[in-house]
């Protein structure tokens, strides 16, 4: 068993060791080992040319990571909190995501951007967001978001090895979570059925997957057999896995840690409806209210979808309320 944050360190270490073109950059990632301790020990092992502390310059860092990728390097950029991604988006959207296409496939941009996301840690409105949806409509990048240490390892290695830009989201409430590490790679763009069930398909990501699994346990005791899918990838969406599940269950509930409008859940249901409307008996979304993430524990807990709300939602839905 290994902590999620250590799985990240392991993946980075294995990539740094395997490929001399890989390097890390970010604020406080080298000497300090990262504010979430996800790069600890890497400076010592790989030296200051491979693990670089940067100034607080998100534009320069993201632009430079892109430029180095054009030269054949494989930068892994850490943006400390996902909320700061707003300062990185120009280079991601207007450069990294576009250059291969614009070059007529002459160049690739093997860039990985890692960032810590999500609410529930009492960090308030500007340190708790889920920026995956900000980039969800941008062609040319992948967005992945693991929920377990094993997936974190496998997806991060795949991200670093990919020849296109990948945004890699790390949920803050998972860093201390423990799980198995088999050092297997996980293909980008694939969802995983993490619990089989016949009555209803529940889709979530990151911390939400664990809530979904807990909710499934509660519901199982009440006789509802929930299949839980860890979407793992926002872009591309693995509709196939979802469709296969819904073929069996006919019902889908998505659990999203964020507002419904413009979120991934509504988009997933929409694409599902456009592709397989006939399969659907019911489709719903458990999401956060359309508000920023509040600081106060009582408010933040109310903001979050959580096991209780998920369970209550499913019960009501099945009861036809």
């Amino acid at each position: 068993m290994i902590e999620f944050r250590h799985a990240i360190i392991e993946a980075l270490a294995d990539e740094l060791a395997a490929d001399p073109s890989v390097f890390l950059l970010g604020e406080d990632v080298a000497a300090a080992g990262g504010v979430f301790k996800t790069t600890e020990g890497l400076l010592e092992r790989f030296g200051p040319d491979r693990v670089i502390d940067t100034p607080i310059s998100e534009l320069a860092m993201t632009g430079a990571a892109f430029g180095s990728a054009l030269m054949g390097r494989r930068p892994v950029l850490e943006i400390m909190f996902g909320d700061f991604m707003a300062l990185s988006m120009d280079s991601l959207i207007n450069q990294s995501a576009k250059w291969r296409f614009l070059s007529n496939d002459q160049v690739t941009v093997p860039l990985t951007v890692r960032t810590a996301v999500g609410a529930g840690g009492r960090f308030g409105a500007i340190h708790s967001q889920n920026p995956g949806t900000w980039l969800h409509n941008v062609a040319g990048i992948s967005i992945v978001a693991p929920s377990t240490p094993g997936d974190a390892y496998g997806l991060l290695r795949s991200a670093v090895q990919a020849d296109h830009p990948v945004l890699f989201l790390e949920h803050k409430r998972l860093f201390s979570m423990k799980g198995e590490l088999d050092r297997g790679l996980v293909e980008l763009g694939t969802a995983a059925v993490v619990r089989e069930g016949a009555d209803l398909t529940m889709v979530s990501m990151m911390k939400g997957v664990h809530d979904a699994l807990q909710a499934a346990d509660v519901l199982a005791a009440e006789g509802t057999d929930v299949e839980v899918i860890d979407l793992r990838s926002l872009r591309p969406l693995d509709l196939e896995t979802v469709v296969r599940s819904v073929e069996k269950t006919g019902r889908i509930v998505c659990v999203e840690e964020g507002p419904v409008t413009g979120g991934w859940a509504a988009g997933l249901v929409g694409q599902l409806a456009a592709q397989a409307l006939d399969l659907l008996e019911d489709a719903t979304i458990v999401s956060a209210p359309d508000l920023p993430v509040p600081f106060s524990p009582t408010l933040e807990d109310a903001w979050l979808p959580g096991v209780e709300r998920i369970v209550a939602h499913v019960r009501a839905r099945l009861a036809g309320v």
Partner: protein, 310 residues
Amino acid sequence: MLLRAHADMYAIRRFEEHIMRLFLRGEIAGTTHLCNGQEAVCVGLGYALDEDDVVAGTYRGHGHILARGSEELRLAAELLGRVDGLCGGRAGSLNVFDPTRNYIGSFAIIGGSIGAATGAALALKGTGRVAVADFGDGTTNQGYFFECLNFAKVYDLPLVFSLENNGYMEYTPIGNVTARPDDLAGRAEAFGIETERVDGMDVRAVYEASLRAVERARAGEGPQFLEYRTYRFVGHSRSDPGDYRPEGELERWQERDPLTLSRRALTDELGTPDEDIAAREQEVDERLERAIDAALASPFPTPEELEVLS
């Protein structure tokens, strides 16, 4: 005035010590950034401002908020996430602010305070009011900083750039990632902005330099830039033990603790009796005790609030 300044700095120090205790007791969740060591900047700058001048600060904002005159009870209640908080518990330490005192934000995005203060100054131009952008040394590598230096100078805005140079970003010494770290003010000079370097541990020096800058800005002489040399005596945030500091550095700076300096000046220069100082400090202690207790007695907001809003 120095006795008052001493008491105000003392109040900030003690207030944040309470906060740290509440943190360790689990009463406050998340994170918090203390300005322990930097109180002279908060108070000296605060004294140089009028009530209707405007300040935009950072996540390290408690001291500046108190210097604006916000209620200790309500600030503490905010950090505790209670309904009596300055922001009803919605903001917390990272984001708390008090528009009623013209403290328009604790910006958790590096550089955000500068953009906002620049805009405030744009709105205040010609009114005789002044805006202050407070930020740290690490922020001088951020795009907002430079763009706003230019922006403020172009429109000759009544804006005071207030750089609290404590020598560190979170855990990285500023010199490691900064070109010419010993001349951060030189970056403002490249835009033709007047600058002054100030001993940020000496509340009188801070006050006098700040007043000069504020008055120039008020008089329509355009943006001003102050670099306060200071130090934080504690870690960057709650979880940081501050291991990255070279040996002896903290101790050297602690000799110049703003409270030590003001106490010494009171005694040695102004002949203030120790009892007077002690009496003021005790007053503060008791006031804070009451404020913290009252804050702890304030209820948490009810979740229904969110349902109403959305």
